[in-house]
Amino acid sequence: MSSKYRPIAFVLNAKRTSVRVHPMKRLLDVLREDCGLTGTKEGCGEGECGACTVIVNGQAVNSCLVPVAQVAGAKVMTIEGLKGRHRLQRAFAEFGGAQCGICTPGMILAAVALGPHPTLEQVRTGLAGNICRCTGYEGIYRAIRKSEDRSKKK
């Protein structure tokens, strides 16, 4: 559409992607509007709630605070990248990790970014930037723990 911008290339959910948008456009908007991936949600637009969390080069970041130019050449993973098959996704659905669901994609990605076998304290600290107004977080801890239990059994 707008050829006035130079392409910005990055790897999105393991696929090479290129967008021609204003380099300061928020990654959140690029994902939702230009890439059609609406699983990333906007809760506050100021980096406080974590609903827009995505994983950039292995780290959980608030995509509302990231200008798209900053991910040039980077690996970006959104909730769609987990394809609904990640063990945390199943556990969130089964053990009360999701209620209204609007924080859920960001919460799951923040939990994925913790790496395998986090302790409860690591989970509490690692998810402190993701606000859930429904669960009081207990359901989220429960889901993560159940998911861990399952992975250990395998």
Binding site: R32, L37, T38, G39, T40, K41, E42, G43, C44, G45, E46, E48, C49, A51, T78, I79, E80, L82, K83, G84, L88, Q89, R90, F92, A93, E94, F95, G96, G97, A98, Q99, C100, G101, I102, C103, T104, P105, I108, V123, R124, T125, L127, A128, G129, N130, I131, C132, R133, C134, T135, G136, Y137, E138, G139
Partner: protein
């Protein structure tokens, strides 16, 4: 045979939410769609003198009050609120003008100048000349009650605004369609929006269609305000002839939409030296904000819950909710009850302190029991469980031992006992005449209700009820979207009524459908007899009678009962109070979906911790000064302690499988338990949020437990708070020790 009820089935909406495919309103895009913006007042009260446009209007659709084809109001209770200000404004952030454009940047940049002639605004509810509603509840004879008292304890308790902070901000998408309009949105009550649109747009009912899409949290905040947003989106859509999406950003949502009503509640209570309540005189004042919205019903529920779950023969509750020039306050989980239950149970704690009595014993002595009569004259059924939850929470938390261990440390422990009436107050359910339908499908059945899934598990619980009553697998039960073109009006998704009231209608539908099907499978029945839809309408259970004039009768079909024990720690440097453990016992009739019930209890408790400790709406000149998440803070993982949840079940005869409502109650008791824990640290706290600033300023409780021996002494702290603000204890002229007559037990 019960196959899914009581079992942790997989919630209907779980997979879509966890995979990110669940579609919320901001995820929807249509060809030719315009984006919209609301231009709002910047002053709290005044006349609009001139509106000037300082932008190129090409491509813009502009709407003001003159474009409204029907009546310019948000139809709800009093019909006093315009959908768009017409000549005058009553609060900051009141909608005045609407703009739409396909380019969001041009929309944001468009400059509108509004000149006002300001008028004097009212901010203090105590000074307000405009009363939206008064409530008076009277039982027994107050003078007689006070004559039997050995001690009178007085006090004033204050609560602040609270922002819902659903993580998905409000939003609507309106689409003009063959002479009418369809609106998709984030909302709790499709038929509230429908009714408001019919009035606003002057369209026949069948030309307005309201569809709830996935909704990212409500908590009451999407009960009434979505009617305004839908109205705005529709006005723009009808004028432009194009789909219009109107999404609030966080700051706009916090500035403009409703909050929990701030309250000032005064108690004057007579009590005998052995701890029996003889008289309760309660005064409730709530700040309704600039328009009436739901304030009358919020006040009503608040007043009915104002005694707490305690028995007393002589009670007077007077309440009023008034107008101030602040954004209207509205529904928020608990709906008036959290404010009055806060006052009631902090006051009980102060009575225990004054008597030198153990707080558990005082509550045990006065807790409502089966057969007891409430302030409105309702005789409680066998499912009244105040004593059960009290004993369960006290035992489970080891309250007494911990209370002794806390003495002299920076740790405190407090408890609260509370109840919550499920369903609409008084005759509300009778007037609603809710309907629910069940439609046979080739593979099973489809639920048709206007109840909305807002995270609480409506789809799951309704499907469980129908599955078991019909005798089909849970998986074969579909739940239709809450779309007014498909579903009957089941009433709003509020008041902890979705399981108990609407669920009960669905159960009746399923029972009848089972009988109709006989031995035929759904597919076979459809082939033989054609389509089958069964609809049931609410009828009050026998004996449930209420008088709106006198406030006498059965205020609710049933009550849930709960007790919170909360342990806190005071930071010696910052004076922050940190919750470190919550133990809660909830009696909820029957947990149909135990994981969901637990989620409601834990989530409501966390929201209550925010209300009690950190969530402060700072109002400056009638506007929220901290309308952003950087300084309106809500509990994160690090602010939320471990929770130990005990669920008790005393079935309610008219609830589906015995279930009562559970959505709101968990919120109600948190703030009083927290403040009672703070009081156990010797801090005379009577106000929330109990921020470090308030902790520092609060008087010290000098010597608790000596009130009854210390004849005529002023209650500590009264001097610094003033006579009306502080509360004091005095002894009426009466011989100590004589038992109060007229007590049932």
């Amino acid at each position: 045979m019960s196959r899914s009820v009581g079992r942790n089935v997989i919630r209907k909406d779980g997979a879509a939410k966890a995979s990110g495919t669940a579609s919320y309103v901001d995820d929807l895009t249509l060809p030719g769609m315009l984006h919209a913006r609301t231009v709002r007042s910047t002053i709290p009260c005044g006349d609009i003198r001139r509106i000037g446009f300082d932008f190129d209007a090409a491509g813009f659709t502009i709407v003001d009050a003159r474009d409204i084809p029907g009546r310019n109001l948000v139809s709800l209770i009093m019909d006093d609120q315009p959908c768009l200000a017409d000549g005058e404004v009553r609060h900051v952030a009141e909608p005045i003008l609407l703009l739409a454009h396909e380019d969001r940047e041009r929309l944001t940049e468009a400059k509108v100048d509004i000149e006002y002639r300001p008028r004097l605004a009212v901010f203090d509810p105590a000074d307000s000349p405009t009363v939206f509603k008064t409530v008076a509840i009277a039982k027994g004879n107050l003078d007689e009650g006070f004559r039997h008292a050995d001690l009178v304890v007085e006090g004033e308790y204050r609560t602040g605004h609270q922002e819902h902070l659903y993580i998905e901000p409000n939003g609507m998408l309106a689409v003009p369609e063959d002479g009418g309009v369809t609106v998709y949105g984030s909302l709790q009550c499709p038929y509230y929006v429908h009714r408001a649109l019919v009035v606003l747009l002057g369209l026949p009912e069948h030309k307005v269609r309201v569809v709830q899409v996935e909704t990212g949290g409500g908590f009451g905040g999407k009960e009434d305000y979505p009617s305004i947003i839908a109205g705005h989106a529709c006005l723009l859509a009808l004028k432009s002839g194009r789909p219009v999406k109107l999404i609030y950003d966080r700051t706009e949502d916090m500035l403009a939409t409703t909050k929990r009503h701030p309250s000032i509640v005064r108690h004057r209570t007579g009590v005998t030296r052995d701890g029996r309540l003889t008289a309760m005189d309660i005064n409730v004042l709530m700040d309704g904000g600039a328009y009436c919205t739901l304030s009358p019903v919020v006040l009503s529920r608040g007043c009915i819950h104002a005694t707490g779950p305690y028995r007393c023969h002589h009670v007077r509750v007077n309440g009023r909710v008034v107008m101030t020039n602040t954004p209207p306050n509205g529904a928020f989980r608990g709906f008036g009850a959290p404010q009055t239950l806060f006052a009631a149970d902090v006051h009980m704690e102060r009575i225990a302190e004054a008597l030198g009595m153990n707080p558990v014993r005082l509550r045990e002595r006065n807790a409502l029991r089966p057969g007891d009569v409430t302030a409105t004259g309702q005789t409680l059924g066998p499912d009244a469980a105040a004593l059960d939850v009290l004993r369960a929470a006290v035992a489970r938390s080891d309250f007494q031992k911990k209370r002794r261990a806390c003495r002299g440390t920076n740790k405190g422990i407090g408890l609260s006992l509370f109840f919550h009436g499920a369903g609409f107050t008084g005759s509300g359910e009778v007037k609603l005449k809710s309907k629910a339908s069940l439609e046979l499908t080739p593979d099973g059945v489809r639920i048709l209700v206007a109840s909305t899934e807002i995270g609480q598990g409506q789809r799951t619980v309704h499907a469980q009820i129908v599955a078991d009553a019909l005798g089909v697998p849970y998986e074969s039960v579909e739940v239709a979207a809450a779309d007014t073109s498909l579903v009957p009006d089941s009433g709003p998704t509020v008041a902890s009524r979705t399981t108990m009231v609407v669920g009960s209608l669905l159960k009746q539908c399923a029972v009848e459908m089972r009988a109709t099907l006989g031995r035929l499978s759904p597919g076979a029945y459809l082939q033989k007899h054609g389509p089958l839809v069964i609809t049931k309408q609410y009828e009050a259970p026998p004996g449930l009678v209420w008088d709106d004039e006198t406030y006498r009768g059965s205020a609710y079909g049933s009550y849930g009962w709960a007790c919170d024990v909360i342990e806190v720690e005071r930071d010696p440097v910052t004076d922050e109070i940190r919750p470190i453990k919550v133990t809660t016992a909830h009696e909820i009739g029957k947990a149909l979906y135990p994981l969901g019930v637990r989620g409601q209890i834990e989530g409501g408790t966390a929201q209550g911790l925010g209300y009690a400790l950190i969530e402060e709406v700072v109002m400056r000149d009638g506007a929220m000064a901290n309308a952003q998440l950087t300084n309106y803070i809500v509990p994160t993982t690090l602010d939320t302690p471990p929770m130990d949840v005990v669920m008790l079940e005393k079935p309610y005869a008219h609830g589906p499988y015995g279930a009562k409502g559970v959505g709101e109650m968990p919120f109600d008791g948190v703030a009083p338990a927290v403040v009672n824990a703070i009081r156990s640290l010797g801090i005379d706290m009577r106000e929330i949020p109990a921020t470090p600033e308030r902790i520092v300023e609060a008087p010290v409780i000098r010597d608790s437990g000596s009130g009854i021996r210390d004849r005529g002494r002023d209650w500590p702290g009264s001097a610094s708070r003033g006579a009306s603000g502080g509360g004091r204890i005095f002894r009426p002229g009466r011989k100590p020790g004589s038992a109060a007559p007229g007590r049932g037990r």
